[in-house]
Amino acid sequence: MSKHTLAVLVENSPGVLARVAGLFSRRAYNIESLAVGPTENSAISRITLVIDVQKHALEQVIRQLDKLINVIHIAELTSEDSIQSELLLVKISATDKNRFDVDAVVETYEAKIVDQDGTSVTVEATGEPSKLEDLLKALEKFGVIELVQSGLVALERGSTALSDRTLSPQSIPTADDGGQADYQN
């Protein structure tokens, strides 16, 4: 088993996320993380999926996803050819006594403190999952009160967009000129 990141361009229409999630559920594929959001094109949303599967299963996942009519394009993005990032918000116990140590950790990981009161601080960090894991480990000793993490998002390096090479569907005439195709040959 190994982790794979898929960028899935889908039509921005109701029910698309349910179709994708339902496919994974009924075919027993395991989703590690999922992030959905708008793209540069208002008609298209982008789902970033991280899945933990074998190579053979990965091909099945991609082909099954591709059968969903609302799925326009699927690309596998590797950590080499793409920027991959998650967002972490974590609330930890922090008092005047250990605040100096907290600040040192936050600085080391290029995170920032986005909220605080006398007894806690909330740290925000972005980056690759491994970096955030390390940060969490370093913060654990202060006492984690609550944490929330986004799914991974990923963007290909370089100047092109995934949508550039996928959004030119061919036009099929409808049955108007003589009914449905005649199969009785």
């Binding site: 005439p173 409808t174 449905q180």
Partner: protein
């Protein structure tokens, strides 16, 4: 229909006009609250609407119609329970790749999500087993949704599409605008295979000494039966046709070894096990064919041609995948193979001799019941012999289905309809109704079980009232026969809840008569032929024959569920005599 473009009309009228523009001639359905606005303009349409007695019947009838014509079948239901009653036929059509367009009414858009009367999220419910589905709440979107639904249902790997339309969208006014073309960013089925794939396949075939054509229902869907015949005769290799493919290759052809799988012939099952190459055409390595997958065709390389890329290497790794329409694929394969064989033509004679000897040694057969009762297999065999060669057979699910697949020789495509993937009991009567509507001049026999028949027989009323004179043979063994067979074999003959007592109640001929059909009965072997002939002589009314048959007959051969195909049994505790075979 584009002539109506620009005309102002209701969403409901736009839907009817869109169905007409899509070439629809027949729809099966039942009206109800949310879909009522649609039934008003439907009243004036030239489109024939057949009022069924249960929405499940509408769905299976549309399937039967589609399986016979190759065109999309259409069914209509109202919201809530009307729509949920379509769930089984939609799942059935998805499993067997049947082009279907289901139209459902939905509660008004303002009420969606409020648990309104007769509200059901049918789009959500049917997502797993429709090829695609739509919820339309804007009347302007209706023509495009319908046009796209037909295109999606009938192109690529066919399948069911559901269009759910809210009542307010049906009632509101719109300006009709049927699209002249469709472009879907996320849907573009590959029709032509790559040259490389064809060359690789031809080269591999020309290097193989034990090839078998493993043919699935895709060949019928693609109307590629003529091409298949040419290809098979070109190579001269044996052909096996799956349950969904019966009729895609003439059953009586000397190269035909029969059906593979759980109840396949010894020759067909063994040919796959011993082959060095499977030329797989529109089949999907279903568990009922492969048996225990890890022991299936262990020495074979796999060529897998299918229009659905997701079928490639799903269950069995394909050495040479070919993605494309099968008609186009086989047409391309014929010249490529001719060329490859000119360079190197392997001698298939020993292989054919082995397989033919298996076929001769282990033909399908049955023993007559010891108590002198009617044998179920003989009834089906005689129907197949007495009926004219164009006859369409429609089976339910169970023992009678397997016997109908074994003891009728299917010579032409689209003459054998059954529920292969989902195994839907109750399929036969409504599907036969749809088949008869599609082919009114052809004899349509439903071969049904007494269990199946009691699930959907109310559609005989529909048949009687709408001049749809199907013939139904109930193979009445007063049991859920296949379940009983498994209880005999695997549950120490403990017949828990499989005794239907259908020789006592209901009285099938009387039930048939009550629904406006002719009811016949037969319980003596010597009366079988004349009863069939009597049924054949009635063409102005549906006929139901209660064939009261021996209860303990079993379907053989059999590969037990989860067992290896190598462990096929020709009768209880009886394996073929492998030692005398040179394999």
């Amino acid at each position: 229909m584009a002539t109506y473009n620009g005309t102002s009309m209701s969403g409901a009228s736009a839907l009817v006009k869109s169905l007409e523009a899509s070439g629809v001639e027949v729809a099966f359905g039942i009206p109800g609250g949310a879909v009522l606005p649609l039934y008003d303009p439907l009243f004036d349409s030239k489109l024939r609407h057949i009022l069924v007695r249960h929405e499940q019947g509408a769905g299976h009838a549309a399937t039967g119609y589609a399986q016979v014509t190759g065109r999309a079948g259409v069914c209509i239901a109202t919201s809530g329970p009307g729509a949920t009653n379509l769930v089984t036929p939609l799942a059935d059509a998805a499993m067997d790749s049947v082009p279907l367009v289901a139209i459902t009414g939905q509660v008004p858009s303002a009420a969606i999500g409020t648990d309104a009367f007769q509200e059901a999220d049918i789009r959500g419910i049917t997502m797993p087993f429709t090829k695609h589905n739509f919820l339309v709440t804007n009347p302007n979107d209706i023509p495009r949704a319908i046009a796209e639904a037909f295109y999606i249902a009938t192109s690529g790997r066919p399948g069911p599409v559901l269009v759910d339309v809210s009542k307010d969208a049906l009632q509101a006014q719109t300006t009709f605008d049927f699209p002249s073309s469709i472009s879907l960013a996320g849907y573009n089925p590959q029709i032509a295979p790559t040259n490389q794939a064809i060359e690789d396949a031809a080269a591999l075939i020309a290097r193989s000494s034990k090839p078998v054509f493993y043919v699935g229902g895709g060949v019928i869907k693609a109307n590629a039966h003529r091409e298949l015949l040419e290809l098979a005769e070109l190579l001269g290799a044996p052909v096996v046709t799956t349950l969904m493919a019966l009729g895609s290759f003439p059953g009586s052809h000397p190269l035909h070894l029969g059906m593979p799988g759980m109840h396949g012939t010894v020759a067909a099952v063994t040919s796959l096990q011993k082959a060095d190459l499977l030329i797989t055409l529109g089949a999907r390595f279903d568990d009922r064919v492969t048996g225990k997958l890890s022991t299936f065709a262990q020495n074979a390389k796999i060529i897998h041609a299918d229009i659905d890329p997701a079928e490639i290497s799903k269950n069995r790794f394909a050495d040479v995948p070919i993605i494309g329409d099968l008609k186009v694929t086989i047409k391309a394969l014929i010249p490529a193979l001719t060329k490859a064989l000119a360079k190197n033509r392997p001698d298939l004679t020993p292989w054919l001799r082995q397989m033919n000897s298996l076929r001769d040694k282990y033909p399908l057969g049955f023993d007559n019941p010891p108590d002198g009762a009617v044998s179920p297999q003989s009834v089906i065999q005689r129907i197949g012999k007495i009926s004219d060669p164009d006859t369409i057979y429609v089976a339910g699910v169970g023992q009678h289905q397997m016997w109908a697949s074994q003891f009728v020789s299917y010579e032409k495509p689209r003459t054998w309809l059954n529920s292969g993937g989902l195994g839907t009991m109750g399929y036969a009567v409504p599907a036969a109704m749809g088949a008869k509507v599609a082919a009114p001049d052809t004899t349509v026999w439903a071969i049904d079980g007494d269990g199946c028949f009691q699930m959907t027989n109310q559609e005989l009323t529909t048949c009687a009232l709408n001049n749809i004179p199907i013939k139904v043979a109930i193979i009445n063994n007063e049991s859920l026969g296949m379940v009983r067979q498994w209880q005999t074999l695997f549950y120490e003959s403990r017949y828990s809840n499989t005794n239907l007592e259908s020789k006592r109640v209901p009285n099938f001929p009387m039930l048939a008569e009550a629904m406006g059909c002719v009811g016949l009965s037969c319980d003596r072997p010597e009366d079988v032929d004349k009863t069939i002939e009597k049924a054949m002589s009635i063409n102005d009314q549906p006929v139901v024959v209660d064939f009261r048959v021996h209860r303990d007959a079993m379907v053989w051969p059999m590969v037990a569920a989860g067992a290896s195909n190598d462990d096929i049994q020709i009768a209880r505790q009886t394996a073929p005599d492998w030692d005398s075979q040179e394999l």
